[in-house]
Symmetry: C2
Subunit: 340 residues, 2 copies
């Protein structure tokens, strides 16, 4: 997406291409929906074979596979198609890292509606969805989210427990706020064999976290706490409270109120660990983290992609003593560790 | 769009970014709709000033301008925004080359509807729009098209007359099929002072061609021929027949029938000059020309981006003796000159 560094003579080409960038989204979604990547992985490598495997017209498959080739998801040699490395790993349904399901979430009709008239969103300064947008109570979109976002967060979930210091065998009480799929708390439970995780989310979403805890063999140390993070009694005190991909949905003042509640539930010496898309103070770099602000503008009333300085201010305003920033390359996300 | 040459470790990032590529389209459209580029050109360079000039919320303008910066259309230094060279030339309404109007055409609701469910389009092998899609008779989308596509075709229109050989002062009868904005025929009229142009298109579209002929001072040598290229009597014989951005809407057999009619209307020694997005035989390079096939799949029943070999076959099947390919860099299009 970052074209700012390119040096080219004046040309309408970039404008034209950007006005058609939605074709890229549509084509990748169609490839996933039709199972094109899985068909190719299974050995259907010609237009006719893919067409038969996917129950789609040869003309449509030819044009789609060519477009997927142009985008780099598919290869084409002598009219035979193959998969890119990314597609083999992430778009083949037989791969353990299959992530085609995120298309359902990312392109959920409700989530994409505001982007069909982003002009109205910009005028208003927040989502044009009714109520609070996607953060309304028990919104079923989060069940889909919980199921489909696991592959996107796998790498972050492996890195986050490294930020918790001390002996891995010590007892550790952990609150996983807005647990969703639960994989962040579960990763902590796997690294710390005497950790106990309390996973907080809406009841419908927690069924997914529970499934994942069972699959990971940590369900004996994984308790469900259904409700809203703003309303439910956290219990505690906790040694660690996880806030993963949560604060970006809300404005500063609402986050400060939440963080006061988080701080009150922490044991002395406890830490809050936040995972976010965190742009630099210029809010335009790095591109993925900075660009996430538009996703929040369109899908929430008052959410944002906060620079570290803004997150640090929230934690200070809530009474935390200090926060430190931890980029998590190669993921586009960063963590913030805040001390009570 | 072309990511095939990039070498990166396996990562879900490209998949995630592509599923959100429609945000790029939405953001550029919002910037155009709100007049953000014109506001910046007029000296509103802070969030508050742009917000006031565009009657939009400061939050929305900040997030939008940051996103436009990430994409390279806007610059940001010390919280002051500026325009990229492309934006100064093509997106500032005060610029003579302003092309913001093409957003109206490219993102016309009718044109984009099939891309919201491209899966259905691929299954079917053609547009899911009713009737013949955008090529239905007198579709008003082509009036919008005629008005807005001029800046996109300016460079091609300057190059195309160079392909007509001979003394520029000789009399020249030219038929401009599907003239639209008329600028191709008008460009020929300007280079050949004794040329007479007959511009064929639906009557509503020809009003735009006539306006442009008057503006160029060639309306005395520019006759309007309203109707469908498939039905109307061409008259003739003509020395040159222009077929610009027309054949891609139709299948081979229909084009062959049309080209027989074109050939019959040509004088001995006459030539047909075709302008198209013409991919290589692999149909995946170069990216813009090859990617145009998806636009045709979604918006027409049987259109395509034809390689030169396919166009050459059409002309031969219609009785033409020979055709030659003429790339028109730096534009993404090419011309084909075919001899009777």
């Amino acid at each position: 997406m970052d074209n700012s560094s390119s040096n080219h003579p004046p040309s309408p080409a970039l404008i034209f291409q950007t006005l058609q960038a939605h074709h890229q989204t549509a084509a990748l979604k169609a490839g996933i929906d039709l199972g094109v990547f899985t068909a190719i992985a299974d050995g259907a490598v010609t237009v006719d074979a893919i067409s038969a495997a996917c129950a789609a017209s040869p003309k449509g498959i030819r044009v789609l596979c060519d477009f997927l080739t142009i985008m780099g998801f598919v290869t084409k040699t002598d009219n035979r198609y193959g998969l890119s490395t990314d597609s083999q790993i992430f778009l083949n349904q037989h791969s353990p890292a299959y992530m085609g399901g995120i298309a359902k979430f990312i392109l959920d009709d409700e989530l994409t509606t505001p982007f069909r008239d982003l002009t109205a969103v910009v005028r208003k300064g927040g989502t044009t969805l009714p109520d609070a947008g996607t953060v309304s109570d028990d919104n079923p979109v989060w069940v889909e989210f919980a199921r489909s976002m696991v592959p996107m967060m796998q790498m972050q979930s492996q890195m986050l427990p490294e930020l918790i210091g001390g002996d891995v065998n010590r007892p550790l009480k952990v609150l996983d706020i807005a647990a969703g799929h639960g994989i962040f708390g579960i990763a902590v439970a796997k690294k710390f064999p005497n950790a106990h995780i309390t996973a907080l989310d809406w009841a419908n979403v927690l069924t997914v976290a529970h499934e994942n805890a069972v699959a990971a063999g940590v369900d004996g140390r994984h308790t469900l706490l259904p409700g809203s993070a703003f309303d439910v009694d956290y219990g505690g005190p906790y040694d660690v409270i996880l806030l993963t991909n949560f604060l970006h949905h809300f404005p500063h003042a609402q986050n400060v109120e939440l963080l006061k509640k988080v701080r009150a539930a922490l044991a002395d010496g406890g830490q809050a660990i936040t995972l976010e898309f965190i742009p630099n103070d210029d809010r335009v770099t790095p591109p993925m983290a900075a660009g996430f602000a538009l996703t929040m503008l369109g899908s929430t009333a008052n959410g944002d992609a906060y620079p570290f300085s803004a997150l640090d201010a929230m934690f200070r305003d809530a009474g935390f003593s200090s926060s430190t920033l931890h980029p998590l390359p190669p993921t586009p996300q960063s963590a913030v560790v805040s001390h009570k």
